[in-house]
Amino acid sequence: MFQLQRHSSLPDLEDPIQPAGDETPALAPCSDCPAAAIPLSMAPCDTCVRLVGVQGGRRLRKRLAELGLNPGCTVRVLQSFGGCPLILAVKDDARMAIGRGMAHKIMVMEDEEAAR
């Protein structure tokens, strides 16, 4: 099975955005995440990605997992226009629209296996 990723080093959702000057803001702020992880909101349209973590409180992560966005799952980005919600294919069959703000907190990696 896949390896779980945690974000214990991250501030909680409610915390203000970290001041500028941090080594890599927004993009890959999690020390536990693989360096190649990007926010889902940055994943280009028509790509397959694997969810590696969610930057947020425990309840939020649990809720997203229950909706099908659990760590390790494969997500296909069907539509992603700047400023609009994204449309995702989750667990192959479910189609879900998710707010861009939320997509910014979901960290993903490119998934070569699923893309094939």
């Binding site: 309840r59 229950e66 909706l67 099908g68 659990n70 226009f81 879900m96």
Partner: protein, 752 residues
């Protein structure tokens, strides 16, 4: 636990001959969009009762079905993605499963979306209740080339699995047979353990389950293993239940166990459990589902490339909304006029004739029946075509899958108000009439969104307020009235926006951020039968609930008009100025002095305006000009009346058809009816009564004041008496403040 708390309908008493179980209860559970309600409707037909869960604005549907001589009660639980304590819907569903202990649970799954749907199914299996899995929408799954090994799924889960297509009622016989077997079963059936959470977690589960099993007060109510899993997940609703049940030590033991797991495995216990559950489901789906070589984009995905496009999607959306709005607000008016005509014409004549025949003609009873009761019933019935059209189109939008796309497109804009994208449709319908607007809030999944939207809908200026604007506006401002009317509509929307922002940051502040997620179900051709059934059931509910409140209001207003306060008049035969209504209005009028319209005449029109906004115009006419002389009624026979009703119905149906076709661009089959010129006497009286400034203040008050009694009935039906009272008080306060601001502000600027 006792079922008495769930207001179950009276069950047939057991008789000596029958040995089948009576009062067999079956709950329907499932994700939103899995066709659960369609299945419920297909099983129960029209034998159903729609209400709300106690203290909640969540719809509770209960129905019954006769299978093999036994009567089975079905309860449709709210659609949920899981059984955790995240939303009111989930708490309602979980409370029902735990407290009512249904005799069986039908877990409805979308066969084309098995992996996500099985999450809830495994949670319900763990409660230990006897489960029957219904694999619904098998046709759509097969059309996409998915093959599901139903027998293997049943073997692996250890429960019966029945494939169905609820929309075309396929597989229902097999499901009924399964239910009949369930009724006859004498041995308790407990599903075996389903998910294996891994060695470490299982060890903690076993330890907690043993503790729970040793506590008789706990073990009597809950499956120990299910309880152990829930406690490790830290489910707040379950913890609260246990704390109230003397299980507090168990809760703290579970918390220790959860933190032990967290230290050992490096992730929170609830995330671990969710993850393992999906791991199990993933394995299960691989075993039972065979997929065709991946066709990545389904037909729905191709349609969505245009329909949900941020630019191209909008014209499609607005065209759809325009049609829905025209159909509900304008096209339905032909049937409204027909009902109005039948009630005001033949029906009233028959009652008058019947009373005359028994020697009561011309008495107060005649007045009560014709002006109070029949007018009240008519007040309910005229809404029926409007609502039927509304429900029809909403069912069409929902069943086709477009509603979710509309919500997706509108979410960008509605988000500013703290509302969900789906709130747009109730607000839009509110411009036609607040009543369908309020009822349309049912399409929203979340209780908070529903309530907030329902409170904002009455601020949209409805069609019944327009005659008031026009009569007063044209009398005072002449040709410039159009601008005023337009400004009033805009003002209503601006006030809704401000109130929305205010409520969002005060009463409806969300404690924590929850993900905004809209599921986009695949597009489907709606079933005509299903849509019509939905329309009929909903309209019937409205008639049942709205009649009492409208009837009462109508009779109260009749009494106010009929009771004389000076010796000049007798009961039911008084001049407007000598009635109790005038007395009440004189008492109220000073409150409107600061807004510039403190006469008793305007106050009395506002009182009667509670019944229906357009009544304001007729009351103004009566109090300023006097009762219009009644046109002599030509005697007609019963046969002539019936013929007239039939003919006018045919005319209304024909007009509706022509008006519908006229919605097509370039087609105009309707001859524009000439505008009725306002009564010259009324115009003169209004010019004397109002200055331009006080007229504007008056119209602002009419726009923002408490909704009409039918809307109040709808608000009470949907949200309960408390929220209805809140809405009325809140709107009255806003209306008064706004009209005083307009009048006093205008005077300061020297406009008065």
């Amino acid at each position: 636990m006792s079922r008495a708390c769930c207001d179950v309908a009276a069950r047939p008493a057991p008789t000596a001959e029958t040995h089948v179980r009576v009062g067999f209860h079956v709950a329907l559970a499932g994700n939103p969009n899995c066709g659960k309600t369609t299945l419920f409707n297909a099983l129960t037909g029209s034998h159903q009762h729609v209400g709300n869960w106690p203290g909640k604005t969540i719809e509770r549907k209960e129905g019954h079905v006769e299978i093999g001589g036994s009567r089975i009660t079905l309860v449709d639980l709210p659609g949920t993605y899981s059984l955790s304590a995240f939303s009111t819907e989930e708490i309602v569903a979980m409370d029902y499963l735990l407290d009512a202990q249904p005799d069986a649970v039908l877990v409805v799954l979308d066969a084309g979306n098995l992996e996500r749907n099985l999450y809830l199914a495994t949670q319900i299996l763990e409660t230990g209740l006897p489960v029957i899995i219904v694999l619904n929408m098998m046709d759509a799954a097969q059309a996409r080339g998915l093959h599901i090994d139903v027998e293997r799924l049943s073997r692996l889960l250890g429960v019966p699995v029945v494939p169905t297509v609820a929309r075309s009622e396929r597989g229902l016989d097999a499901l009924k047979a399964q239910l009949a077997a369930e009724v006859m079963r004498t041995q308790p059936r407990r599903p075996e353990r389903v998910v294996d959470y891994g060695r470490e977690v299982e060890r903690e589960i076993a330890r907690l389950a043993a503790l729970a099993g040793a506590e008789p007060s706990v073990a009597a109510h809950y499956d120990p293993r299910w309880l152990a899993v829930k406690l490790l997940e830290g489910d707040s609703a379950v913890e609260a239940r246990l704390a109230a049940n003397g299980g507090a030590p168990l809760v703290s033991t579970a918390r220790e166990a959860a933190s032990r797991l967290e230290n050992m495995l490096g992730d929170e216990a609830d995330i671990l459990i969710t993850d393992r559950r999906y791991g199990y489901i993933n394995g299960l789906v691989r075993k039972v589902v065979t997929r065709p070589p991946l066709d990545r984009r389904t037909r729905s995905d191709h349609i969505d490339q245009i329909v949900t496009h941020p630019v191209f999607g909008l014209p499609i959306f607005f065209a759809m909304m325009w049609v829905v709005f025209q159909m509900t607000a304008n096209v339905s008016s032909h049937f409204v006029d027909w009902i109005d005509g039948v009630i005001g014409g033949p029906l009233t004549r028959w009652v008058v004739a019947a009373l005359g025949a028994v020697g009561l003609g011309g008495t107060w009873l005649e007045s009560l029946l014709t002006e109070g009761v029949i007018a009240g019933v008519g007040g309910v019935l005229v809404f029926v075509p409007v609502l039927a059209f509304t429900y029809f189109f909403i069912a069409l939008l929902e069943d086709s899958g477009y509603m979710a796309r509309a919500a997706f497109l509108m979410d960008r804009f509605m988000h500013v108000l703290g509302l969900h994208g789906k709130s747009f449709i109730p607000m839009l319908l509110g411009i036609g009439c607040s009543v369908p607007g309020v009822y349309a809030t049912r399409t929203l999944e979340n209780e908070r969104d529903r309530l907030l939207t329902g409170l904002l809908v009455p601020f949209m200026s409805c069609g019944a307020r327009l005659p008031v604007y026009l009569v007063v506006g044209v009398a005072i401002f002449g040709a410039r009235a159009g601008t005023l009317v337009f400004a009033l509509y805009i003002l209503g929307m601006v006030v809704a926006l401000l109130v929305g922002l205010l409520l969002k940051h005060t009463l409806f502040r969300q404690r924590e951020e929850m993900p905004f997620v809209i599921e986009l179900p695949p597009y489907r051709l709606p079933s005509f039968k299903g849509v019509l059934r939905h329309t009929w059931l909903r309209t019937r509910e409205f008639i049942k609930h709205a009649t009492s409140i409208i009837l009462i209001a109508s009779v109260v207003v009749w009494l106010l008009v009929s009771i004389p306060i000076s010796p000049a008049g007798s009961f039911a035969n008084v001049e407007a100025g000598d009635s109790a209504l005038a007395a009440l209005s004189r008492w109220m009028a000073p409150a409107f002095e600061p807004a510039g319209f403190g006469s008793w005449q305007t106050a009395s029109s506002l009182v009667t305006g509670f019944v229906a906004k357009e009544v304001i115009v007729s009351t103004l006419s009566v109090v300023y000009v006097g009762e219009a002389p009644e046109a002599p009624v030509e005697p007609s026979t019963f046969v002539q009346d019936v013929a007239e009703i039939g003919l006018s119905f045919a005319q209304a149906a024909w007009d509706t058809l022509r008006a519908t076709l006229s919605l097509l661009p370039g087609v105009n089959l309707m001859d524009d009816a000439p505008e009725e010129a306002p009564d010259a006497a009324l115009v003169g009286a209004l010019r004397q009564a109002f200055t331009p400034l006080s007229a504007v203040a008056f119209l602002v008050f009419v726009l923002l004041t408490a909704p009409c009694v039918t809307t109040m009935g709808a608000l009470r039906h949907e949200f309960g008496t408390k929220w209805m009272a809140f809405s009325v008080g809140f709107m009255l306060a806003i209306a008064w403040t706004a009209s005083v601001l307009v009048y006093q502000g205008g005077r300061l600027l020297g406009l008065g």
